[in-house]
């Protein structure tokens, strides 16, 4: 899907030869520390940056050639939940997802409302329909934004750190919901700061460092202590258990004295 993608802001290279592909029904987790270009990668796929080199094929079509209306019927974006200047009901929020399927000069009607209710029902949130969006908890808001993406009827969902502002219970619920959607046939790309989540829920992992791909493959193939050390600069042991592989960070300063310096080096960058 993405081949040799490079992107630069004037003189700074943000993405260098990024290549990967996903197929239907897969969750691809993009891992990497802050500032490695995960967000830029997503913005390229969403058509915000059109002067990239290489190619991004969305359902076989080059992303930069599609206008926002066409692209939005293939790719839906699920942002982190955040405040808005104006408040809407949950139903109206989800209805906005249907925008690209109606005439730009009309308003959503009965059929779009049904689509919106269906989308809410699929993630088990139809009881929220009449609530006001800003009064929901962070987890509920994230669910509603997912429903909005479903109402958009795009098969590819891009999620920017979907669990970053949530408590542990809601993180898990949202990820379970995302897993269900992938099993249902949606392709999900999500960026994450939590390699444990990627291990549990993702089909593929794309690990990035400094704008390039350092590993791409199934969690079992690519996840190891070396990769985690490269990405985050800390020692993490992998513990295989009956419940899947668990990540166990090692206490600081156990046996490697140079770790402190490396940590600094990573943070400076």
């Amino acid at each position: 899907m993405v081949r040799n993608l490079s992107f630069a802001y004037s003189f700074r290279d943000i993405l260098k030869n990024v290549s990967f592909q996903t197929s239907q029904g897969e969750i691809l987790a993009v891992l990497g520390p802050n500032g490695v270009g995960k967000t830029t990668l997503f913005r390229c796929i969403l058509g915000f940056h059109r002067h990239y080199r290489g190619s991004i094929l969305v359902q076989g079509r080059e992303a930069r050639t599609l206008n926002s209306r066409k692209l939005s019927s293939d790719v839906a974006y699920i942002p982190q939940s955040h405040g808005h200047a104006f408040n809407y009901s949950v139903l109206d929020m989800v209805l906005m997802g249907t925008t690209s399927s109606i005439n730009p000069l009309s308003v959503p009607g009965k059929r779009q409302e049904e689509t919106a209710y269906d989308a809410l029902a699929r993630i088990g949130a139809e009881h929220l329909a009449g609530c006001s969006f800003s009064h929901l908890s962070g987890g509920e808001q994230q669910l509603v934004l997912i429903a909005r993406a479903l109402a958009q009827k795009a098969k590819i969902l891009l999620m920017d750190e979907p669990t970053s502002n949530l408590d542990y219970g809601n993180q898990t619920r949202i990820l379970q919901q995302i897993r269900l959607l992938a099993d249902y046939g949606y392709t999900v790309l999500l960026s994450s700061h939590n390699p444990q989540q990627a291990l549990w829920y993702a089909d593929n992992i794309l690990a990035m460092e400094d704008g390039s791909v350092v590993a791409f493959g199934t969690p079992d193939d690519v996840m190891n202590s070396n990769l985690l050390k490269t990405l985050y600069g800390i020692d993490i042991a992998l513990v295989h258990s009956d419940y899947g592989t668990l990540l166990a960070p090692q206490l600081f300063g156990d046996h490697d004295t140079s770790r402190g310096e490396k940590l600094h080096a990573t943070m400076d960058r």
Partner: protein
């Protein structure tokens, strides 16, 4: 996601809210339109030369279906030739300013945006001052105010387009700069104007007034109003989606920059037309969309008509005060600030009610 009891309660009350909202989307505009009609008839009967409301209705109806004449000729002249243009004008100006305010607030994603944020009013003031200095007729003043208003907003859009960075921020900054440049120009014109007649005329124009409104002025504002409103009405749902934020709107298939430019141009046409006939009337464009949002919610397709009706009603009432409170007419721009500012403070203290 929370405990079930709390959820159940929320659910019940929310179902009620949804039905209530849907019914309201129909009834609120109808009720407001009826209030506006009643308000207009009462306004036509008020004034130094009192005309009973029933006669007002008969005089107006007589234009459509001939009735037995129960009124005097003076009554007819007062109602049709003097009061009617002014009252229609008050409604149109209130409607235009509120529509602009609602549109600007939506596309700038900021409830603090007002019609003069992009220097439309400052441009009109400069144009009017220039016309008064040059000794133009009242109609010339209106035309020049209109042109300068459009010109200044056009320049703001062009400046913002070529500047890098956030478009919304660029627009607002360019608007502030243009506004201050133009008011400096206006001040200079005041300095060189003849203090015995031109200077008072400029000052009085800037206070805003609907006095002396004629049928010609009504025609002058109706055409730009219609042209400007059509795109706003057609794009009503796109504008709603844009309020969520440029990037999210874009991922849902809206072109934010194009849409914002179209909306700003249309809305500016409305402000320019109303400012050029009425002078500076502040607060309406900021306060009325706020009140309307509390009544009906933020969806632009319903907020726009409700704001327009509320704006018309508000300015109609304020204009009655302006005409009838004292022997001498009070400039309406002063009154809207006297009424608007305290009301806005009340709204801020009362806090955000969520629709």
């Amino acid at each position: 996601m929370k405990d079930h009891l709390a959820m159940g309660k929320k659910q019940l009350s929310d179902i009620a809210t949804v039905t209530w909202n849907r019914r309201n989307h129909f009834y609120t505009p109808v009720v407001l339109a009826m209030l506006l009609l009643i308000g207009a008839i009462i306004s036509l009967s008020l004034g130094r030369y009192g005309v009973p409301a029933i006669q007002v209705v008969r005089i107006l109806l007589n234009r459509v279906i001939p009735l037995h004449k129960t009124w005097t000729d003076v009554m007819e002249t007062v109602v049709v030739n003097i009061r009617l243009p002014r009252i229609v004008m008050a409604c149109l100006v209130g409607c235009a300013l509120s529509a602009t305010g609602a549109s600007y607030q939506a596309v700038f994603q900021n409830p603090m945006a007002s019609p003069d944020i992009l220097s439309a009013s400052a441009g009109a003031a400069f144009g009017a001052a220039l016309a008064i200095l040059s000794g133009f007729s009242t109609f010339g003043i209106t035309i020049l105010a209109f042109l300068f208003s459009l010109l200044s907003v056009g320049l703001v859009i062009i400046v913002a387009r070529f500047a890098p960075g956030l478009k919304v921020m660029n627009l607002i900054l360019a608007g502030i700069m243009m506004g201050s440049l133009l008011s400096a120009g206006t001040s200079y014109i005041k300095l060189v104007a003849d203090p015995s007649n031109q200077l008072p005329a400029i000052t009085y124009w800037m206070m805003g007034s609907l006095a002396g409104a004629k049928s010609r002025d009504v025609v002058f504002i109706v055409i730009p109003l219609a042209i400007g409103l059509i795109p706003l009405i057609l794009l009503r749902w796109q504008v709603t989606v844009l309020t969520i934020g440029d990037e999210e709107a874009r991922t849902m298939g809206v072109n934010p920059h194009l849409l914002r430019t179209v909306v700003i141009l249309s809305a500016t046409l409305l402000t320019a037309a109303s400012v050029s006939v009425s002078g500076m009337i502040g607060w309406v464009g900021l306060v009325i969309p706020h009140i309307s949002r509390r009544i009906i919610g933020s969806k632009f397709q319903i907020l726009l008509p409700v704001s327009m009706l509320n704006g018309a009603l508000f300015l109609l009432i304020v204009d009655n005060v302006s005409r009838n409170l004292l022997q001498v007419e009070i400039p309406i721009g002063i009154l809207t600030a006297f009424i608007g500012a305290p009301f806005f403070i009340y709204l801020i203290i009362k806090g955000e009610k969520v629709a």
